[in-house]
Symmetry: C2
Subunit: 142 residues, 2 copies
Amino acid sequence: MTTSQIDPVAHVAGFLREVWSAGNLEAVRKYVAERYTIHHDPGDPWNGKVLDRKGFAERVRLSRAPFPDQRFTLQESFLAANAVVITWLWAGTHLADLPGFAASGKSISTSGITIYYVADGLITGHWQITDRLGVLLQLRQP
Amino acid sequence: MTTSQIDPVAHVAGFLREVWSAGNLEAVRKYVAERYTIHHDPGDPWNGKVLDRKGFAERVRLSRAPFPDQRFTLQESFLAANAVVITWLWAGTHLADLPGFAASGKSISTSGITIYYVADGLITGHWQITDRLGVLLQLRQP
């Protein structure tokens, strides 16, 4: 089976599971195009940037570091002409420092929606909103 | 033309423009089903509730009150089998009090993604994430 025959929804689900939840950086090349554009992602340090696969893997590694057991749970997926839209829940344990918040061991959860642009069986970028205020409020709780 | 013949993307665009941007509460009945479910909308006071059209119009009125000139700008729309997904930017002037923030006259902007579920030419509910931390940070700026 070539990549172009893979169902785009299954492709995005596998990407979320293998790369973002399990942290398998070797799998990046299977899912992500050679140029990946972060079109819109408020609060993400890479917002607006174009990454190659090495840069993308580094983004995953650094993003996962404070919450090494993080898990995304896919809620719904919507297949459009050039994109897969997913709604998701997220949970992780705060095990390494974040700016302003020393590692706390707290269980943190949030949610988000991501538009993944897909072309030729690979993800070329995203437009995303996450409920980052929800995370901040949980980190601040005594 | 009956409602069921209207393009779902145009329907959602009209809803955003007439109801949410212009604040035309009379137009609610044209766009919204008799039962409207707020499936997921962190920070929204009506999160999880089911509203009739009167309740929906009240939600619009109360939500718009602090930012009476608010404008949504549609970025992209994605048509799926049972839903229309939109990415949007938002801007408004903070002209009435919010909890913890007296009316400031500040120009505030944010962005979001909304899944609008559409059936029989009417919107039956949504799943939404807005960048509410972005709003909070702007309100807090001196």
